[in-house]
Symmetry: C2
Subunit: 132 residues, 2 copies
DNA sequence: GAACACTAGATGCACGTGCATTGAATGTCC
DNA sequence: GGACATTCAATGCACGTGCATCTAGTGTTC
């Protein structure tokens, strides 16, 4: 069973993934920070919240479709709240839970930041879909 | 000019990249840490050094084909040296430069860790080349 | 050869992260 | 209903990172 091919391809694909990700992430992080004083994690969190708009979301649900760990998310939301971009409120039904909602300011900042994000993504991902 | 399609695809591809990367990276990080007391960055550094074996490599050259920043690389190599996996020696030709070489122990640890890496990569990347 | 710009790599610092733990609320079992 | 396990979110802690800066060696210009 000649599995050399698959093993080699594996590492190559991993390195490709590693490189792609880091290039985009690095640039995006800087662009968001410089232009909007946001972390990539903060923007992504905001982005998820806006996607599911009108609806309060529990921390848990947020964490579910994100890559952030529970503690990271907790602190990220704390930072966003401190900046006035989201609001936390406790869930009456289950008083352990916490609801998170985007504020007006949060919506504005998100809209602006999204422009930056799109531009950065386009710069890196538009021309070469082969090397995703 | 209907660019909606491309913009939408852009974000989708980014989220896909984000998710793929974080799943693999997270798992790999843990596996390497638990099994070999290595950071992902440390392993990748070691990996690059082994690839270019027999040859001393300057920090600069190492940094060139890696995603790590200059300061991160500097500290990573410092940690690897402290653990006895690599050795630094100064470059006589240009005494600002520093050579980095894998030690015997480093080779062994790398070989062991590579097994773990391959296994982890296989788990995540083997079945679904479509969603690289 | 003295002054100045530049480069290689190390380091102080602030910050975001994961892990483990904590505190509070809920569920369960008898 | 009281004791115990479980869940949600927050937090102490150690650690790796990037940015800016620093030190030392090199190149250049006069």
């Amino acid at each position: 069973m000649p599995r050399m091919t698959s093993e080699t391809g594996l590492v190559e694909r991993w390195r490709s993934l590693l490189t792609s990700y880091n290039q985009v992430a690095c640039d995006l992080e800087r662009a968001l920070h410089d232009g909007h004083d946001l972390t990539m994690g903060e923007f992504e969190t905001l982005d998820r919240l806006v996607d599911a708009n009108c609806e309060d979301r529990r921390m848990q649900d947020l964490a579910a479709d994100m890559y952030l760990s529970q503690s990271a998310l907790s602190r990220t939301v704390a930072r966003l709240e401190k900046s006035g971009l989201v609001a936390r409120s406790l869930c009456e039904a289950d008083r352990r839970g916490v609801f998170v909602k985007v504020t007006e300011v949060g919506l504005q900042v998100h809209a602006e930041a999204r422009t930056t994000q799109r531009a950065t993504l386009a710069k890196h991902l538009s021309a070469d879909p082969a090397r995703l």
